[in-house]
């Protein structure tokens, strides 16, 4: 299982990549592995304003369905249409091609409550 350096993580198994005030959000390798084959993704509307911890997208595998929470507050400015058309990208490339949405953050202090790669690794090891 890969936990990528340079990202922040939530306990709900989302990752966040921060570039300026833009946060790109996806689900972790651990999450895609636990879900199994992803067959459907529901993405938010661009322009939707979300709060940290809010259910923002849905990911469904053959066996189960899960919400994807936005780890940060702000406005959704971009979604990854490619995973709607090819949901298997979430399994194949969870940290690159399989990203879900980008949020223009309204409160960057929220980032301090997220986990470092080391802390997320430890967290997952304890599950």
């Amino acid at each position: 299982m890969e936990v990528r350096e340079g990202l922040l993580y939530s306990k709900e198994h989302e990752w966040v990549k921060v570039e300026g005030d833009i946060a790109t959000v996806g689900i972790t390798d651990y999450a895609q592995e636990s879900l199994g084959d992803v067959v459907f993704v529901e993405l938010p509307e661009v322009g939707r304003v979300v709060s940290a911890g809010e259910a923002t997208a849905v990911v469904e595998s053959v066996k189960s369905a899960s919400d994807v929470y936005s780890p940060v507050s702000g406005e959704v400015i971009e979604i990854n249409q490619a995973i709607s058309d090819s949901p298997e990208l979430v399994n194949k490339s969870p940290y690159d091609e399989g990203w879900f949405f980008k949020v223009k953050m309204s409160n960057q202090e929220e980032l301090s409550s997220l986990l470092s790669p080391e802390a997320y690794k430890e967290y997952v090891a304890g599950l």
Partner: protein, 349 residues
């Protein structure tokens, strides 16, 4: 093997070894091996066991030859389905009943409570293991591994042979819609058989997840989910497994139901989207009236769209547009299953 495991009716079973979709597609093209030792195996033996089973089960048992097996239902007095099972005629007066894991105990009690004197009922579940080899290439695999020709075996026939000195029963049956075999062998030696079959390059292991998507694509109901004591063979669309020419437990109630008609019946639901239907999702008419409920739903790996089974008001027919509402809310059409019709299950060999 790195499998994902779940608890199923008290048995710890693999959901998948690699990925459900991969295992599913492999089964449709090659051959997959399923560990299904959780399924119950009961034996009924003694004079006139044929007459006893004919009175207890919906399908005809008396016309079975030794070496033949048949799918049937077992009902309670109210016509509710206690179980669906396959009956093997092992001898003139000896039968094996292969039943569901979750109902093995209650079936044993039910059959036992009706058992006439002179007949014997035994539960062989723990001593006799079962593995299924399923897929269009399963015949050549079986012949290569077992070393004898199964080519002459027709659909719903079985042979009792020996493998490495052990008795083994092989039936041409399955739950996937493909050519396939179910193998019964001494539980102490099943691992040897499992390893020998798995060593063949065309064979991969498959778990309960793929078993579920494979059976759903061909419209086989799952006991405890699509069928249960709350539904009858008529509402469950299983009337073809009822022989009306004989008496059996539950028949009087079924006849009345046939006369009066049922309110809801099991039918397929299909959507062009990939979003899977889930057990419990509600089905609505175009006018917005609630007309049914999904009992099994999934993404179909062979077809690339969502499929499901649902009990729907009988006024609605195949082709009707409906809406399914669960976590999502999406359009679908009622559909007469099977959804997948390319299977090799009935292939003449």
């Amino acid at each position: 093997m790195g499998a994902r495991m779940i608890n199923f009716s008290g048995w710890l079973l693999p959901v998948s070894y690699s990925s459900i979709v991969e295992e599913h597609l492999w089964t449709r093209e090659n051959a997959s091996l399923f560990d299904v030792s959780h399924m119950g195996r009961l034996e009924v033996e003694g004079p006139e066991s044929v007459r006893f089973l004919d009175g207890l089960l919906t399908n005809r048992i008396s016309s079975l030859e030794v070496g033949q097996c048949r799918y049937t239902l077992m009902l309670n007095e109210d016509g509710g389905i206690l179980d669906d099972l396959v009956v093997y005629r092992l001898g003139e007066d000896r039968f094996m009943l292969v039943v569901n894991a979750g109902t093995t105990g209650s079936d044993y009690e039910w059959i036992g409570s009706h058992l006439p004197e002179g007949l014997r009922l035994s539960d062989r579940t723990s001593e006799l293991a079962k593995v299924d080899l399923q897929g269009p290439r399963s015949r050549e695999v079986l012949e290569a591994v077992l070393g004898w020709d199964v080519g002459g075996l027709r659909y719903f026939r079985f042979v009792e042979e020996r493998w490495q000195g052990l008795p083994i029963l092989v039936s041409r049956t399955g739950y996937t819609g493909e050519l396939g075999y179910e193998l019964y062998i001494d539980a102490d030696r099943v691992l040897d058989l499992w390893d020998a079959l798995l060593a063949h390059p065309l064979v991969r292991p498959a778990g309960l997840g793929a078993r579920d998507t494979l059976r759903l694509e061909v419209g086989y109901p799952l006991y405890g989910q699509d069928i249960h004591t709350g539904v009858s063979p008529i509402s469950a669309n299983l009337e073809r497994f009822v022989d009306w020419e004989k008496e059996f437990v539950g028949k009087a109630r079924l006849l009345r139901e046939k006369e009066e008609g049922v309110k809801r019946r099991l039918i397929g639901v299909r959507s062009e989207t990939r979003r899977p239907f889930r057990h419990g999702d509600k089905v609505f008419s175009e006018a917005g009236e609630e007309i049914g409920e999904i009992t099994s739903g999934s993404y179909s790996p062979s077809l690339g769209l969502a499929i499901g089974l649902a009990y729907v008001d009988v006024d609605f027919k195949e082709g009707d547009v409906v809406r399914v509402k669960g976590r999502g809310d999406w359009e679908a059409r009622l559909f007469s299953y099977p959804f997948y019709t390319e299977g090799t299950v009935r292939l003449s060999l």
